[in-house]
Structures are given as C-alpha cells and as structure tokens.
Subunit: 330 residues, 2 copies
C-alpha cells in the first residue's frame, strides 16, 4: 500500500493503468482558426439527460488556450486500426493534421474518419483538476461506425473481447478440464478444420497433402527439407513418397537444381490448391461472422501472440527465398 | 449522424458504449456510519501532481448523500474474476456488503479484496454534471495486485489483450496470408501440441491413442461410438483396432454391458494417462507464462467463444452419463 508518506509517481501511473480505457482524439478549432487535436484516454460519459461527457487536458498543453476559447470540441473514439493516428496526436507538433482527411463539425472542430464513434460537444463547464483542467461538454451530435474500438491498458494498446460463458458446467476430477489450453486450441482448430477437411477429401487429398500444397502456394521451388522444416512440427508427413505421389497425380513437378530437388506446383496443382484455399476462406468468413467482428480481431491478435511466443524456430513461411537460392532457381 | 433535432437516447448510450472502460466499485462510509458502495465505469484519472481521480454519480442515487457527506471514497478497480461483485454493487439494495470481506480505509471507506487496484481518496471537489455529480478526489493511498482487470465494452463485460506485432512483414499473393484463421489456429495448436507429442511418443503412444486415453480419463465406460462422437471431427481414428491395441498393451479393459462393449482405463492406463496429462499441464503453464497472465485469460476466453460458435454438435465431454447408462454400468 502506497500512502502519502511514500508516494511513488511511477507506481501511481502503473496503478491508474490497471483501469482500462478506450482511446480518443479530441479536436477543436482555436480562435485563430487553426485546428488543434490531442490524444486522450481521460474521456468518460457524465450525464444522459442532458447528454454530457468529460475529458481532462494538462494545464501545460500547447492547445489549452485553443480548447478554452473554442467553446466546442469533438471527441473521436478511435477504432482498433487507428493506433498510428493515436500516436500522431499524442505527440507535440504543428503538423498533426497534415494529410489527415477532415470534415468540419460543430464550432468548426475537425472531424476525423474511420473512428468507432464521434461526439460533437458544446463546452458546458471547465473545472479545476490539479495539474489538469476538466472539460465537460454537452453532446450536440454523434455517430458511430460499428468498427471495433482501440483499447488502452497498462500503458499499451489493446483490444477487448467479451467474456465467454463456460463451455460446460461440469468439472470432473480427470486431471484436466475444459480450461486446458492445448484442449481448447485443439478443439477450436479441429472444429474449424473439420469443415475444410470435407473439401480436401472431396478433392482426393490427405490433410498432409493439403498442408504441403498450401505451403507451396505461398512460394514454391522449396526443397523437401525446406517443406519439412515448416510442417514437421504439425506431425505432417512430407516425405519423398508423399511429394512423389503428388507429382504422379500431376499436382507437383520437381526440378533438379544445384543440390536437392526443388518442388513446384503444376498449373493444375496451383488451380486446385487456390480452389481449396478459397473454400477455406469462405469457411473462415462464416466462423468469424459467428464470433463477431470485434472478437475476431482479438482472437487473431492473441493467436499471433501465442504463435510468436511458442515458435520453436520455424522458418518464416512468408519470407522471400535467400539470395543464393534465388540465383540457383533462376 | 444524430443531432439535437433527433436525439435517440438508446443510440446515444450505444455510442458511449464504444468507449471501453474498466469497472470500479466506489465505496464510502456515510455520516450514519453505514457503508455505501456503487459500481461505476465513469472513473478516470485527472491529475498526477497532485494525484487526483474522478468519477460520476447519478443525482438520484440512494447513496448520493453518504458520498457527499463522507469526505472520502475508495475506488476499487475490479479484476477479471469480479463480475459477480460488480453485478451485486450495480443493483440497489441495503445488503451489498453482506458476506463481503472488508477492511477499513481512509475516512472509514470499506476496502474490498482481490481487485486489480485500489485508490483511497479525499474528496476535493464535487462538480455539476447534468443528471450526475462529478466527484474529484485526491489519492491518499493506493495499491495494486497484478490481477488482470475486468473490462466493460458495448454494455458487456470483457477482457482486454495487448495488440500483437505482425508475424511477418511479407505479404505474398498466395491466395491466403498469415491472417487466415485456420492457419493461425493450426499453427498455434501444433506449436503447443508439438511439445506434448514428445511425451506421448516417449510413452509409445500415437496422437490418436493419447486423445482416446484423455477422453476416457474424464469419464470411462464409454462405447466405441461414444468415443468416436467426440473425436472423429479431429480426424482421430478410434476404430476397434485402435481400442483393441490399447487393451492388448494393458491400458484399457472392456466390459460387455447391455449392448455395445464399454471401454475403461486399466489402473496402469489411468496412471500413464494422468502422467501424460501432468506433462501437458506443465507445458501449458510455460506457454501461458510466455503469453502473460492477462492475455492467457483473454485467449482462453476467446477460444471458448469459438468452440461454442463452431460446435458441430459434439457430445458434452464433461457431462455425467445418462441415467440409464449409469444403471447398466452399475
């Protein structure tokens, strides 16, 4: 417990940071006609009738006078994709609006696009608040886009996801439970892949063959060892027999370069692979729609975190081939 | 765009809801010595020097007078597990504190446990704010626990997760990208299961055999059809040959009930399965530590959402057996 006697400002900021917020950019037009804008997470709602919101601005902010004189301000609740815009307006500088598309709102306040929501306000009160001033405004117009909002927590950008119900009320003494991450990952993966597998099987392919073809669709001309390096952790058999089997069915061709054989998709192989990928993307769209757009953003985000933090050192599937290899292929 | 001319209160609330917040419970001790407490998401920080925070309370709140008279209040930033406590303090009622462990803070304000953070405040200002009053307090003591915070967004409880870096800077025209959900799910799953598989193989088992044994560890006495119903979507071979093979190695035994054969773990089978599950849980712990506790909560939460929304109608692994079946087993 920190008390007045030993008040650590850094620890105080960290403690405040546990309160999650959205991120807003507040804009106004100063008495000189110039637009001002600041990133703020001190926004909150105050009143429903009359509709009022508030936010706080540091007394030493360059734009303080403009906000005090304007009599209006516009609050932009930023969407998950607007991290760069947030960073731009968080810094001091005269060129914040350069290249940013704006329309004009109440009191001349610049209105930015692609936010989750916007609230145009007439300043009602400006209150003392220590080293900040508290601006309270009455909302005169507002709109929202449906885009998932950007979130700020513990000093970092974040996205939020609604809390899920429990999968099952039962909790048996089985040594593991539905909360076991490998189980959740596996069940989620197999429930989604289950539907893709139907298409893969209908095309006469095994799961392993589909994984190999998808990998080569990203970039072909890989050796068997390169294909295995990316897929063996998945328990995928990428042995010569499997590759030769795909070649025999006219889906792959191989070239004898300097060293190992390099494997390429045939035209027919590429056509059928892209067809399967299109089917997988249609299934993905349905799955994401079932999850909802906001949670879809959050889930992909977390899976990327997990992939990065558990990467056993897999080759980067998406990287261009090493220069030497390119030469050999040319 | 909603303007003054057509101001829809419901749409206004939805627009405010796009601003994500934490959830707090604010407590105080009234002049009558009785504790009061309300759930509020209108909290925010105001000033660092002096350290000040604010929150808003409806003018018609029962506890308004107590908060006005007290001169102190305590802000509890709730943790992800405190949804029930949040609901309890969001309702009107005299019994909010019944059965809730409290200590006493500055000005006698009740202090609740297991929050993400707590801030004890001396009321500095009470300002007008439409149908609410804005309480501004100077923080006289604070602490935080490290527990991940509860989040509120779009009218629902949520959890937040930090935004991930991109997996790869490359983006090739392959028909699919690293953003493809089935790819992310599969890569995440296989990177985690990859490490469990080492233990499974060291124990002389195939992946399918491990899945079957884990399922029976939850509840055995299942028929082959029941085992298949839960695992076939994962492409798992649960055929009689596989079950018989496990029996031959002394890991399963079967009983001839009324109808199909029912499969049970042998003592040796249970011992070895629980041993593997313990290894899987140790790996899970490492993976979750790499992800961080807050993101781990969010990821599990989202995977549960996904499992629920893509469930092809799998039997509930955790449910007790139907009554009739229990009878047959007895």
């Amino acid at each position: 417990m920190n008390t007045e006697a030993r008040f650590d400002p850094r620890e105080f900021r960290a403690t405040l940071g546990t309160f999650t917020t959205g991120v807003t950019i507040i804009t106004a037009r100063g008495a000189d006609g110039l637009p001002v804008g600041v990133t703020a997470n001190s926004f909150n709602s105050v009143s429903l009738d009359p509709p009022m919101v508030l936010w706080s601005l540091a007394r030493n902010a360059r734009s303080l006078e403009a906000f005090q004189q304007s009599g209006h301000f516009a609050v932009h609740i930023l969407s998950a994709g607007q991290e760069d815009l947030s960073n731009r307006f968080a810094k001091s500088g005269a060129d914040k609006f350069t290249g940013v598309a704006c329309s004009e709102g109440a009191g001349g306040a610049p209105l930015l696009d692609d936010c989750s929501a916007r609230l145009q306000c007439r300043t009602s009160f400006v209150y003392e608040g220590g080293d900040h001033l508290i601006f309270v405004g009455e909302v005169v117009a507002f709109d929202r886009s449906g885009l998932p909002p950007l979130v700020f927590q513990a000093g970092r950008y974040a996205v939020a996801t609604r809390k899920a119900a429990s999968l099952s009320s039962g909790s048996l003494d089985a040594g593991w439970s539905e909360d076991h991450l490998p189980y959740l990952l596996g069940r989620a993966y197999f429930q989604v892949y289950f539907r893709i597998r139907e298409h893969v099987r209908a095309d006469g392919l095994s799961d392993d063959e589909y994984f190999i073809l998808s990998t080569l669709a990203v970039r072909d001309g890989r050796t068997q060892a390169e294909i295995e390096a990316g897929l063996s952790h998945a328990g995928c058999d990428c042995g010569f027999q499997v590759l030769a089997g795909l070649r025999q069915r006219g889906l792959l061709r191989c070239e004898d370069g300097t060293g190992d054989l390099r494997w390429f998709l045939s035209d027919e192989g590429r056509r059928r692979t892209l067809h399967l990928i299109a089917a997988a993307k249609a299934i993905e769209s349905e799955v994401l729609a079932g999850l909802g757009e906001w949670d879809a953003v959050a889930l992909k985000n977390l899976l990327k975190q997990l992939v990065l933090s558990t990467d056993p050192g897999l080759p980067d599937l998406w990287s261009p081939p090493p220069a030497a290899t390119t030469g050999a292929e040319a």
